[in-house]
Amino acid sequence: MTRSRAAYDDVVVAVPVTVPYVRYSIRGAHWFLAAALAALIKRAGLGKDQIDGLCVSSFTLAPDTAVGLTQHLGLTLRWLDHIPMGGACGIVALRRAARAVQSGDAEMVACIAGDTNHTHSFRLNLATFSQFARDAVYPYGAGGANASFAFLTAYYMRVYGATREDFGKLCVAQRANALQFPHALMKKPLTLDAYLNARLIADPLRLYDCVMPCAGAEAFLVLRRAAAEELGLPYARILATIERHNAFPDDPVQYRGGWALDRDELYAQAGVGPKDIDVLAAYDDYPVITLMQLEDLGFCDKGGGPDFVRRESFTAAGSFPLNTSGGQLSVGQAGAAGGFLGLVEIIRQVTRKPLGAAVDNARLGLASGFGMINYDRGLCSGAAILAADQ
């Protein structure tokens, strides 16, 4: 018999922060992380010395880690974590921080993620991303995740009958959401025609299938409910979370992620089902991975993604509100902040404080993360269900 996991009791998440994104920056990652932390404590009404826990994610912080950041930003902490898990870092940071607060190891944990983007940093990061990427992908001319996602998009289309139009429908809806989100880098409407005829990047991927790398940061605060109420902060409750690494290693091509292993546990811990979710933030560095999450998180069956996309509508006012800030595809991918973007948006929606389009009566939100194309597939997956205060 498996032991049931402890609930998160009265641990809550609050103060969603976005440091506006820019395409390129001459600043370092520390600048963006500092800006995120400054905004977080200001909005929370806290002094810097009241933050006793910090969780950091960044690709461009080298040679520093979270440790160097404590001295850089003058923080004295009793709990510190560094989570190099790319697109899953937001979910994982939430999990770590929530347990730290729940156990009393820390009271106020600031979770921050951000990166800078110099004109050459993307290329340098690609070349040194992982040992397998350096040995077995990069020498083939494949820049970062494009080739890997081209393979799995092509495979998914061949096996499950998804079409370019299906992916395009998601991208067009997300752009419509982004037009209302003040921090989105993409500010022009996207038509399906423009999506379908965009410049080829790596067949079958075209320009609007790929995120735009940029600089920026995101943050949130994990604390006790009582503390949030005392500070007068709107908060979301944490109903359930999951994470998984290197799931299904023997699948020839990635057509499912770790969610498929863990979703039953996710919904059981939350005491809700997929039909109860009011708003979904799926990790969307490429649209195919959104379809996989729709399947693996139980919104439809495996292979049912294309039909689901054809059936539903995805703007904030649609039948299935998805990536309501515009997602990375329309907001931009600020490195590790991309792993926070969806979670931060779900906090905003369920606390009824969206910066852009609001989902009516959003009570339950699900944020999903996916990250780290170490070689041929994304290794980290995670998800969290957040609920509005009763």
Binding site: D135, Y140, G141, A147, A154, I201, D203, D376
Partner: protein
């Protein structure tokens, strides 16, 4: 299907020659096992000695049982192409200059999943393919998926040609065209589609049998070349050096004796003068131009071939000073390889066993026939290796040497004098 290529247009001399770019060369040390095998023309992957798991990318431990006892074992490379893409964009200059570029994701029958360059004749997924390891222009192993069955003009595939030094449409200098090997080389290169073969001749008055036939080939131009004469080497380089795409240094001076059998150093000095200093003179005069032409269009400078000897690996006492001169040449060729590497020009070292010629007359067979050796050299140019051991004797020595160099030294010392 790959279409037979048309001869590239003559180069416009006013245009600037493109500077060579290379594919990314950085690898972890453990991944260099793939390069070591590819250098000998083999596709090897790590196989766990304890549980038999075959794995890729290379790792420090078995992914199944965590054993560190990993052996590199030859693979047949058969597998299924499960997905493909065509890159239209790359962050690396080398690929930017060569877009579009086809890549495949292949599930090998032995288990691992590999990303590989994808030959144009491979069908759409799912399709059966054969994966090979070649050295790329950076000198590192790269995997290439070929169609299940050979296709016409297969060697002319654009991506494959970036991984080979095919003599087709290229200009080749053979440094000594008068020996049986030299003649076979010139004929073999002409047959392989070389545009022009400069046939080096040290002593114009000598008319060895068969040379008239070689001379009459339409692609062949006889050029005076004496590797012991620095000025002659320089003059020839001044004349043709800027056009040589492939240089094959087969000039060789071979006398059979050890130390005790002879007084003085004159014969040994003569061996060194051709086998070692000859290579040095050639390298000083011809390498700079080849280095500058590593990216000179579809028929750029691509390869430098040294015909060494398997005696370079370990001294064969009956041919002791000759072995020493070839060992010196091997060492120098490694220096040349390093200096040509930034241009993507491959240095191929050929280590034949005894050649069936007058200087090995007293050695018992097996000996490699000059025609066979020449054919192996042309094959090496069309392949992806940089160290070639043609013939049974060379293969036997190589295996012994790799297994235990000290044991080979003892075995060679114990061989009867001829």
């Amino acid at each position: 299907m790959t279409r037979p290529p048309v001869r590239p247009p003559r180069k416009n001399p006013i245009l600037r020659t493109r500077l060579p770019t290379l594919p990314p060369a950085a690898r972890s040390r453990v991944a260099l096992g793939l390069t070591a095998a590819a250098a000998r023309g083999r596709f090897e992957l790590q196989v766990c000695r304890d549980c038999g798991t075959v794995q890729y990318p290379p790792r420090e431990a078995c992914r199944a049982c965590l054993s560190p006892r990993l052996d590199w074992r030859v693979q047949d490379g058969n597998g299924e192409l499960v997905a493909e893409t065509t890159l239209r964009h790359s962050h690396e200059l080398f690929f930017r200059e060569r877009m579009p570029w086809r890549l495949g994701l292949i599930k090998l029958d032995s288990g691992p999943l590999v990303v590989a360059h994808l030959h144009g004749d491979c069908g759409s997924p799912p399709a059966r393919v054969r994966v090979r390891a070649h050295l790329d222009r950076a000198g590192q192993a790269a995997l290439l998926a070929l169609p299940d069955k050979d296709t016409p003009h297969m060697a002319d595939d654009r991506e494959l040609r970036e991984l080979t030094c095919d003599p087709k449409f290229r200009k080749v200098l053979v440094t000594d065209a008068k020996t049986p090997l030299g003649q076979a080389l010139v004929e073999g290169l002409a047959g392989a589609g070389a545009d022009l073969v400069w046939a080096g001749a040290a002593e114009p008055w000598k008319k060895p049998p068969g040379f008239e036939r070689v001379k009459a080939l339409p692609q062949v131009a006889i050029v005076p070349l004496d590797l012991t004469d620095s000025r002659a080497v320089k003059e020839l380089a001044g004349e043709i050096g800027g056009r040589v795409d492939i240089l094959i240094n087969n000039a060789d001076h071979h006398r059979n004796f050890g130390i005790a059998a002879r007084d003085g150093v004159e014969t040994a000095r003569a061996e060194m003068d051709i086998n070692y200093f000859g290579l040095l003179r050639l390298a000083q005069e011809f390498a700079p131009a080849m280095r500058a032409r590593g990216a000179d269009g579809p028929s750029s400078a691509v390869a430098w071939v040294n015909v060494l000897s398997v005696f370079a690996l370990s001294n064969f006492p009956p041919h002791g000073t000759y072995s020493a001169s070839k060992a010196a040449a091997l060492s120098l060729s490694q220096c040349l390889r390093a200096e040509l590497a930034p241009a993507g020009v491959r240095v191929i070292n050929v280590f034949p066993g005894p050649i069936d010629d007058e200087w090995n007359q007293t050695l018992p067979p097996p000996k490699i026939a000059p025609a066979r050796l020449a054919a192996d050299i042309v094959t090496a140019l069309r392949g992806g290796a940089e160290d070639v051991f043609p013939g049974d004797v060379a293969q036997d020595w190589l295996e012994r040497w790799r297994d235990n160099p000290k044991a080979l030294e003892r075995e060679l010392a114990a061989m009867p004098k001829q």
